[in-house]
Symmetry: C2
Subunit: 459 residues, 2 copies
Amino acid sequence: MPYFDAATSAPLHPVAKQALLAALDEGWADPARLYREGRRARLLLDAAREAAADAVGCRPDELVFTASGTQALHTGMAGVLAGRRRAGRHLIVSAVEHSAVLHSAAVHEGQGGSVTEIPVDRGGRVDASLFVRALREDTALACLQSANHEVGTVQPVAEIAEVCRATGVPLLVDAAQSLAWGPVEGDWSVLAGSAHKWGGPAGVGLLAVRKGVRFSVQGPVDERESGRAPGFENLPAIVAAAASLRAVRTEAAQEAVRLRELTALIRARVPELVADVEVVGDPERRLPHIVTFSCLYVDGESLLHELDRAGFSVSSGSSCTSSTLTPSHVLKAMGVLSEGNVRISLPPGTSGEDVERFLAVLPGAVASVREKLGAPVGPAASPGLKELVLDTLGKRCPLPVIELAKAIGQVAVGGTVTVLSDDEVAELDIRAWCHLRGQEYVGEEPAERGWAYVVRRLV
Amino acid sequence: MPYFDAATSAPLHPVAKQALLAALDEGWADPARLYREGRRARLLLDAAREAAADAVGCRPDELVFTASGTQALHTGMAGVLAGRRRAGRHLIVSAVEHSAVLHSAAVHEGQGGSVTEIPVDRGGRVDASLFVRALREDTALACLQSANHEVGTVQPVAEIAEVCRATGVPLLVDAAQSLAWGPVEGDWSVLAGSAHKWGGPAGVGLLAVRKGVRFSVQGPVDERESGRAPGFENLPAIVAAAASLRAVRTEAAQEAVRLRELTALIRARVPELVADVEVVGDPERRLPHIVTFSCLYVDGESLLHELDRAGFSVSSGSSCTSSTLTPSHVLKAMGVLSEGNVRISLPPGTSGEDVERFLAVLPGAVASVREKLGAPVGPAASPGLKELVLDTLGKRCPLPVIELAKAIGQVAVGGTVTVLSDDEVAELDIRAWCHLRGQEYVGEEPAERGWAYVVRRLV
């Protein structure tokens, strides 16, 4: 039963499990204590810190272990923002950062700070010159992921880090998705990672803060982890995290080539196998293991259920599948279709056969969802209307787009369809549908309820 | 090699290890995902929450898992203090709370809140009437441990909870040391615990907040754990924590009787075996597994090394052993001797033979440290001085008291010795020495350097 959601959480690496088991016996005591069990724990903790620092590319005394990647990001951002309070209260983030970064940014804004969100291109990549132009006198911190978690696009970190360094603004890099593949290049100032993303156990994040970065931990702390991560160290998990990071790195170069071929195959084949699909994310500058696509006339949750029934575990940034029912902020920032979104993220060791089987199963799964939703199957008869108003109020994604697609044939070329919708993602999806089908998105305006989206038939 | 420091961290319970291993295979995926691995993880998480809530005595939807007991305390205190901002900004804590509570209180004070610290008696117990008298109109939160972590004294939680409930002030109970032995009695509002204290794995705390308590989580959060503990759930450890709590509880009643006898034996025998020892903590209202004593003329660190060499791992609240070199705030609040402090906390399953061996080894270990430090061995010749000034500036605990003990014989009964010292704990230890030796502690006043402590010879 193939699991294709490594970007959410990778299965535990065998080395992590071995190390965890060994450390449960040897490393359960308090490393701050002076007796033998404590000294043994301290040795394990020191060795884990050295191994992790080596893999990250920093000094051991610059790295602390946290309880999660999320905690590393929260602590890292709050620490620099407070430490550089005198420089100013301006924060820069990309629009496609992990929610932990955006949540911290929202807290900062709520406390009176200002935030600039840097947009991305349709491939999800930040324009380095735009990012750099946002740097100000009063910028306390800039945040950029090494690679995007939803679409795999690699960001121009080294380039931006260089300018940040030159202007004295610390750059915090969320390296959660890329640490398995190698250290982050460039002269970053703060870095965060999460062990369960690279095959380590849950419960371990890492936070590296270069010497010289002004850092002031917020909230209550204790003497653990240089005063940056309070609470008893989760030592067995830390040991397992460090050991597995080292292990995945030794396999990374070879595995990256292999997985990149498999994701390239998916990128190429999906649009051939399924109609009305948009593969999203930068086609070249991308992580080896992630590929994401969106399917018109499909709701993500139903598609995930179909694929799950067929034995494939995949993820979705589609509004319809997330528990919160808001559309993925990443797909939104990219301006691409969010409906029927599927993210494939292959764990190391994924076989070519499993990928082939997935490609064999996908068309049927999409067709089944489309059939249930009544998606359009061919060109509709064209009665040649000049204007048509479609009331889709109360209908959720992907139904507004499905009705639009069915109705467009009823207007003459040059005529317009106005879609009334109160679904939050309708604009994104109608725009994306126009882009995909070569129709013109004219614009939107507030309606009595929701919005009116106007589309002109061109073909 | 007996490990007698369960109050710092208990060795992993066999059930915890079994459950952890099983959950590493079954529960590594994201419980928020819809595919089979995610659904399986969700089932495990739900079951763990139910088991933990049952053991704590609350509803499952009142309990969340955190990354540590410390995080549970930090989050719990900040959440209630913010949620009850309108009621006021007054916080009550006992003087012998865990440092995580006192750190949070310091942060609250730094942000303009006010804090009342309730003193304890010489046994380390809070006077319920004093605590209750501190409740004010503007009290937002009161915090009391179920039992003290350094001396094992059980606090009058039920009594205080009743009054808090009646006056509408939430009582937060730090139950870290007592959860293994049973649920906290009384009508508490918020409760925190830590799995590695009951034989569960590190990396799991629990926070229970009764419905109806105004609670506003501070800082960035996400959708995990009801928005109260951000970051990917450490599910295998959570499963192991819940399973082991249930397991230790089934053994608790019987084991409590057995360990209470062993600690009672230590309480009784140590003063018989070693001269100049003070057993501290309430002799009756105490946890079954903890016993603490302090030895005059001994520094804790050296004694711990001696005991470690003899194969016993014990802890110390003595200033001389902690990494920070500050005296234990608990012993200080109790007004008891802090020098040569030893805390014995027996893990379940400790054998009577090991305790007997410890008692056999202890006198030699203490004697060896005392000999190295040149502690007094008999009454000194009495030349009958009226006054004597002892300059111990620059000398650290326990040397000032050792010099005092050696010098007291040089003054006549009724005469005084003035000890000049700049060691932070000197007052505590000189007071405790007078108490133990039947001499009079006259008082202290600032000296050119440090303080002058005046002692009158009575015997």
